[in-house]
Symmetry: C2
Amino acid sequence: MAHNDVSFLFDLDGTLVDSVYQHVLAWQEALHAADIELSVWRIHRRIGMSGGLFTEMLLREVAVEITPTLLETLQKQHAEAYGRLVKWVRPLPGAASLLEYLTRAQIPWAIATSGRMATAKYNLELLGVDPAQAAVITRDEVRRAKPDPDLFLAAAARLKTDIAAAVIVGDSIWDMLAARRARGLGVGVLSGGYGQDELERSGAIRVYEDPADLLRHIDEIGGRT
Amino acid sequence: MAHNDVSFLFDLDGTLVDSVYQHVLAWQEALHAADIELSVWRIHRRIGMSGGLFTEMLLREVAVEITPTLLETLQKQHAEAYGRLVKWVRPLPGAASLLEYLTRAQIPWAIATSGRMATAKYNLELLGVDPAQAAVITRDEVRRAKPDPDLFLAAAARLKTDIAAAVIVGDSIWDMLAARRARGLGVGVLSGGYGQDELERSGAIRVYEDPADLLRHIDEIGGRT
């Protein structure tokens, strides 16, 4: 393990791919289908958590009984609705260039997402990332997703790098909380629609607009060649 | 004019009606149709501005030439896409109760929206507000929409109340900026998906979750009977 050598661990939705708002409306559709009315901003605030935790927190707000059947129905309806909305999803500006830059600079990087490979594969394809080649950790591979640190710890282990020197890039406060719990360095991006202040308060040492803006300032966070 | 008597002036989208995310994706569709790719969070950040200002600010970010034809096409495409998504739009929790409370308490209230009556009428219907009975000011009636103060000034004039004692409730920083420029008292709600800090920094004297939360705390901002 290379101590003190920087590595980059990325969240996927809202950080490399512009998919947060489609996920939000897909969850709204799924909840509607189950006769659960919940304001859309509350769904947005929870996006990026593990699917199970996400639905449990949402359902607690509306005092609906959480059964395994309901959770399964919601996950299925969400996947179906997202499948219809995914045609509007694009890589975020600079996402592909940022990954290419790191590869060229021989700085190890990985993607760690709370989503499952079944949905993440579409986003990875958009980015031109082959999960057979690149280090990609999904919800399927860890016991607990964000805000637990497992995904980022698994990503650092896969890269054989020191988590304490890892720059953990994410768009949501769940990424920043998971980064702190993993003892890595949280860096926020605004491209998921959260405010700069929320990201800073949950531990981001720096906040950029999107991957393009992060790449322009990469020397600030240890990404020099 | 009743000096020092409180009145309530409300924004509509994101403040009384849960329509912000549908507007955001409708704008994305409209921009796509015009071959303009813009990250969704940037659209979200501009929602609530006047339509003209909104498109001009967006187009400035992508360096596209702004022609009257392009603006008209975008407005038309947005209205068409929003028309398809509006079936998912609901009143925000507590919105109808809040307006009923104010009516019963004989506290004058008005709605002031940057949208035009052509689209606002659907949202007013959802809320059970008849624009022939209630004080509703739309973009059609003023020279400049938010963040200019015209809409709120016109609403206070319609109610024959003092703008300096008016509580101006909105979900976006454009509402808060317009409230300050109108010399009213800005109060934020989180239901449009913006952060509490942004609303406070743009002048909100208080921030609540949504209309239901505001109604629970209405004594804090002068709404006592």
